[in-house]
Symmetry: C2
Subunit: 337 residues, 2 copies
């Protein structure tokens, strides 16, 4: 990769690790290296704006990783929202973009509401009444700037549990809770190995009676915004519709919305502060476990890690060392403290 491209990608990957979202940080390098080896990933992609309007744009990621085109898309959305009040940018011909929340947060840090969604190249969510997975874990992130409080940052997979949570259970030798995954007959799966092999996760809500059709609908909404709007490939049809495609053609959607187009200076931040304060001071079920606001755990993690560094288990360090050697790169990580 070109140095500037690699540097921006690395910074966005580390941003996920800083926030405690290890499943979407430097640990992804193993998969990225595999895709590179298979020719699934362009390492010198041309990222370009292929279409542009006063408040919209379409970016082509050139078949490379999604971080650089997505950050560029959000910067463009932010720029457009300064002039038009709102900016919406779609990205096609991309790949994994890391943690969705990182892009939504870019907008909030610029004083704007930010939205980020992404399709996924392989499927994992089973529709209500179905048994086969038809969507990836299709994440949605939403961030908004407050005043005295840090920003609100929602960053969620539209499945009941993210794939990373299943992997974590496997790593710990634990079973997963009933309701996260099903088998080919729709029966609950609690063995993380089976869940990871079959990739049949329930949509947020789980069964129909508990609102699973809403999670299924949200996953479809994310697919429409990320894949259909950008002209990316819908994973279940990719092999049939694009049999010769070397790349996955993943799509993303990034939006920024300027509260200043609707309200007076500071009014939005002040009201969001009041809402956040009301939530934090609302009565907890267990006094030891106060009511949190979306983004709180990730920010606490980031503060801790900015001070004391990002803990990397020995197997991950070994992995990074091996990948660096294979890529002919100097291994520059230094143990801290």
């Amino acid at each position: 990769m070109a140095p500037a491209y690699a540097a921006e990608t690395a910074a966005l990957m580390v941003a996920a690790d800083l926030r405690g979202i290890e499943s979407h940080g430097v640990g992804m390098l193993e998969l990225y290296a595999e895709y590179r080896a298979k020719g699934r990933l362009a390492t010198a992609p041309t990222v370009r704006v292929v279409r542009e309007g006063p408040a919209t744009a379409l970016i082509d990621g050139g078949g490379g990783l999604g971080h650089v085109p997505s950050a560029r898309a959000m910067r463009l959305a932010i720029e457009k929202s300064r002039a038009a009040g709102v900016g919406a940018v779609a990205v096609r011909n991309s790949n994994h973009f890391g943690a969705a929340g990182v892009y939504a947060l870019m907008a909030a840090e610029a004083g704007l509401i930010g939205v980020a969604t992404s399709g996924v190249w392989n499927v994992a969510i089973v529709p209500t009444f179905g048994v086969d997975p038809m969507f990836g874990t299709n994440p949605i992130a939403f961030a908004a700037p407050a005043g005295r409080n840090p920003p609100f940052v929602l960053d969620m997979a539209t499945s009941t549990a993210a794939i990373g949570k299943v992997k974590l259970a496997k790593m710990r030798g634990e079973r997963i809770p009933e309701g996260w995954a099903v088998d080919a007959d729709g029966a609950p799966v609690t063995d993380p190995d089976v869940a990871l092999a079959q990739r049949r996760l329930t949509p947020l809500g789980g069964e129909r009676v508990m609102g699973g059709h809403k999670g299924y609908g949200l996953a479809a909404m994310v697919e429409i915004l990320s894949t259909v709007l950008s002209g990316a490939a819908y994973a279940p049809l990719r092999a049939r519709r694009y049999p010769d495609a070397e790349r996955y053609n993943v799509g993303h959607f990034l939006m920024a919305l300027d509260p200043g187009a609707f309200r007076g200076e500071g009014d939005f931040r002040a009201d969001l502060d009041d809402m956040i304060d009301a939530l934090r001071s609302s009565r907890p079920r267990d006094p030891a476990e106060p009511v949190l606001v979306a983004g709180d755990p990730e920010r606490a993690c980031e503060e801790e890690r900015r001070r004391h560094g990002i803990p990397l288990p020995a197997p991950r360090v070994a992995l990074l060392r091996r990948l660096a050697a294979e890529a002919g790169c100097e291994f520059v990580l230094q143990p801290r403290g």
Copy 2:
């Protein structure tokens, strides 16, 4: 109400009944009449655009029902999206707007992606780790136009189950499933009377382990878009912050996004058709219950009801007759068939 205002409101209420969303249709008249009697609802409101940009606007509902300002907001969002690719309109100083899906569908029928969200004047959703309700059932609707298929229409409360579902269980003398509602100690409630009296619904997902924090986050997202962005009143703080306010000051958010700003003519519709077809033909758990797409049940209901009329149970007819008499209106409903 002025005749044109009443006619548009009535049409939007009936649209909900046509789609089988009786909880948000003419049955709401009882509550609206109560609000009118209490001075909570302006019947001759001035609906006006108070702020406007190239792709955004803010509408003040004048303290009246939400249907007219919301339909106007979506028409304005549609108009702006024709020029700018996207249009986002916030509504403040409003009240109940009926079914969110009706507004999102307006955009889809115009060939655009539509989004509609709303705050609620009284609270119902309990945050993760909390015991007191801090959000209304905060609905989100998302619609998108296909080609050979009817539009995709997601219309959902961000609670596990809508209040209307609890009322339906009560009407049928049934208990509600464990997981829909809790009591003041966070214990599950299955008696619909208790659930309706306490109004402590779980966010979509339910408990933390089943992703309830995501439903809580989505409810907060809807509140930020609908209430904080427009400058409406956040229900838990209304009494303290606006002690003298006669009206509820509910807020909504309406957005239209033009696929034509991103892709060539017909490409979006064709790809959405392929996705919808793939979902419909995906393997069902029970062959008698095929996989559906968001909007299917409501559309089937609408087709049936456009042919055969909207069934109104006798108590509802009696209610409408009484309300008409109290309002000094002619009762014009005719039994059909």
